[in-house]
Subunit: 177 residues, 2 copies
């Protein structure tokens, strides 16, 4: 009887350990798969080639350059969809400011240029189909001017919004030659 | 006497040849020095790094990327003024168009993107202090989407306008990190 009790306790403990491991493992998988856990700024992004440019009014009030690493640019230029593994698309958003200097040269107020970094200065989408399977194969990230990740509440909105262009592999920006 | 006549004729002829050569040479120098004679699009410009971005309202109504070749980008990043020989700064201007697709995703009209090439699609400033001495050491050029040079009347306005920023080596656009 004592032997059986010990065995049951041992089994219970083992189940507990296995259960605990499963929970831990699920948690870390969720972390890897979630869109909010790309925490590194890709090195050299400021040297990347131009995909296009845009201006956002409203709360964003920015002017932005959308750039791509070589894998992404090659895919864009050859029309390859979905984007291959390793593709990274980045965008830099500067505050949208009038240029008094340019306006004086043009002789009328018409010129808007890139000012200081915005609160959501840098954003990247990193293609890794396995790692980011939960968010369409792309990991999302967002950083302020000091390289600090944007709040999770903000980053959680990335993937739901990008689902609007699922047919273009979740990428809004088109390449402009 | 006959000998002297022949000599005078020979000297006169020589002066004529020299004078004619001088005129020809002055003519070709003027052509090279003028701002309207950079007639080639620099190869590979679409792969260059970003200096900044801007939006021009009014007649231009464009959104633009300002790019630089490696010589120009290195000078910008190290604050080197004047720009060294071989520096080229380019700008691509696309028509400024609202994006219905982005607006739908944002839930409000706020997004403007790069559309078709404008009439003054590509413009370049090429640094060659000797060749373009008449225009501050920079040769100017402008092309439409088919690679055709813009009218001389338009290109003649480049240098007078850029003199407003002579202290920054005639370059309006500042590098935005």
């Amino acid at each position: 009887m004592k032997r059986i009790t010990i065995l049951l306790v041992a089994v219970a403990a083992l189940v507990g350990v296995v259960a605990f491991s499963a929970i831990t493992s699920r948690h870390s998988t969720a972390q890897e798969a979630g869109p909010i856990f790309v925490s590194k700024i890709p090195p050299g992004y400021r040297d990347w080639k131009v995909v296009s440019v845009a201006h956002e009014e409203g709360d964003l009030n920015d002017i932005r350059a959308i750039l791509g690493n070589d894998v992404a640019i090659n895919a864009y230029r050859t029309g390859k969809i979905p984007f291959p593994e390793g593709a990274i698309i980045g965008r830099i958003a500067w505050s949208y400011v009038p240029s008094e200097e340019n306006n004086k040269a043009f002789g009328r107020p018409q010129s808007f240029v890139a000012g200081a970094p915005t609160d959501f200065y840098l954003q990247f989408m990193v293609k890794d189909s396995k790692k980011y399977v939960a968010t369409g194969g792309w990991g999302y990230s967002s950083f302020d001017k000091d390289g600090k990740s944007s709040p999770e509440s903000a980053m959680k909105t990335c993937f739901p919004c990008h689902q609007a262009v699922k047919g273009r592999d979740f990428i809004f920006t088109r390449y402009t030659p």
